[in-house]
Symmetry: C2
Subunit: 262 residues, 2 copies
């Protein structure tokens, strides 16, 4: 199933791809030094700028790092959790915002993944996790909180919950699912009443986590998913109504809709 590109890719893309394969396959191990740009240019029979573009592509994916100076060069980079997470969040966010993914689909996926943490959270959560969740709930109660700040705190709460599973790989994947939803969540206006209901869910989840009650966490997340979904529907019908009301105005706003593609 090899790619037979109709239009042969750029040289820098081809070279980046070859080097990427060497790294992913393990032929080049962590901290291994790649040949200098001049040597690579000679080996691949291209000019140095072309090699540099290839290396920048790899650097953008955190596959290599470069050091200047005498014994510097390009080195295979150890993929850190932080870098991996940043990549994942960027990619997931754009996947959601650019593809008219309907809110329910994204929401369902996110909460399904989050519920997967429940049993482990119940078994392993530490006081530190509960502490973060508690303080985020307190923040969410602040009267003057903007919708964006409320959402950010919501994300922090859920990340703390998933961290409670004490599985960094799971936390990594969940960060992608949860943080990527933030732009979509930010489109919702949270009234005092809706905030209160969300906080109720958070408290139920926190209590269940304290009691090491996996099913309770699950139930709390389920309630939260349903309510979030309802809220989003409300916002969308409201928005659609407003739009229909002034259908004459040439509203060419490029805002991404959250509508179902099917």
């Amino acid at each position: 199933m090899k790619t037979a590109p109709d239009t042969p890719a750029d040289l820098s893309a081809q070279i980046a791809s070859e080097l990427r394969d060497l790294i992913v396959s393990g032929a080049l191990i962590v901290d291994a030094r790649l040949p200098s740009e001049a040597e690579l240019a000679e080996q691949f029979d291209v000019s140095r700028p072309t090699i540099r573009e290839a290396l920048k592509r790899l650097a953008a994916q955190s596959l290599i790092r470069t050091e200047r100076g005498a014994f510097g060069g390009a080195f295979v980079n150890r993929m850190s959790y932080g870098e991996a997470r940043a990549q994942l969040v960027t990619t997931s966010t754009l996947l959601l915002t650019m593809n008219e993914v309907d809110f329910d689909t994204a929401c369902e996926a996110r909460f399904a993944l989050e519920r997967a943490c429940a049993p482990m959270v119940a078994a392993r959560r530490q006081d530190s996790h509960l502490g973060v969740m508690r303080s985020e709930i307190a923040r969410q109660r602040s009267p003057g909180l903007s919708d964006e700040a409320f959402c950010a705190s919501d994300v922090a709460f859920h990340l703390a919950l998933t961290d409670g599973a004490e599985n960094p790989i799971l936390s990594y994947h969940l960060a992608g699912a949860i943080e990527a939803m933030q732009p979509l969540m930010n489109m919702i206006t949270y009234s005092a009443r809706s905030r209160s209901r969300i906080i109720d869910c958070h408290e139920a989840i926190l209590s269940a986590a304290e009691a090491r009650d996996g099913d309770g966490i699950d139930a709390g997340l389920d309630r939260l998913q349903n309510y979030t979904s309802d809220l989003a529907h409300l916002v969308m019908t409201e928005r659609a109504a407003r739009k229909a009301a002034r259908a004459a105005s040439p509203d060419s706003s490029p805002l991404n809709q959250m509508e179902k593609p099917k």
Copy 2:
């Protein structure tokens, strides 16, 4: 906690970061055309090669695409599922292989996420999904199958299962979790007996999916996780024993040299 870089980043990295923010924030919408390289060079007051390196960084993350010719240029790229998936798999794979993540942690995360699909698969799976799963099980029964091919078929089986949830966002996340495990799974040697047991699990999962039995899928995945974990432990202890037995032999592995193309 804003960027206070101890070592100021490269110009191309800074510029790439600025443009990336514009895209992620939505200031540049899908298919929007960026200024030409010459214009960008003038705007940022840098040379064209520097701008090009910045653009290549963005291209490597599938944030932009470039088209040649008059009225060509760099355009904001719609993040497709395929591109997002490829990015995710690369990142996740390297995260696992470069960080000495222990097998149980990765395995636990992967199966936890996969179990999250079970209820949705039970509710929505189509005959096409069952068909793929069935044919992959058949392939896994082939006598001459290499360990790598067996693993690949295993991955295909599980991807078909998760696709059964009929939620593309969920499939995207699961692809990252499942495919990233393949290098780790490839380190295991699958005896005829162990293959048989794995296939048993697959059949149990398939039957449960046919019967729309979510708990059955869950149970099958749980069994599979336990058995996979046991297998991995066996391989590890075996390998450790072999290594200890011939601790004196100076196995000088031939270093991976970069081969010259062309």
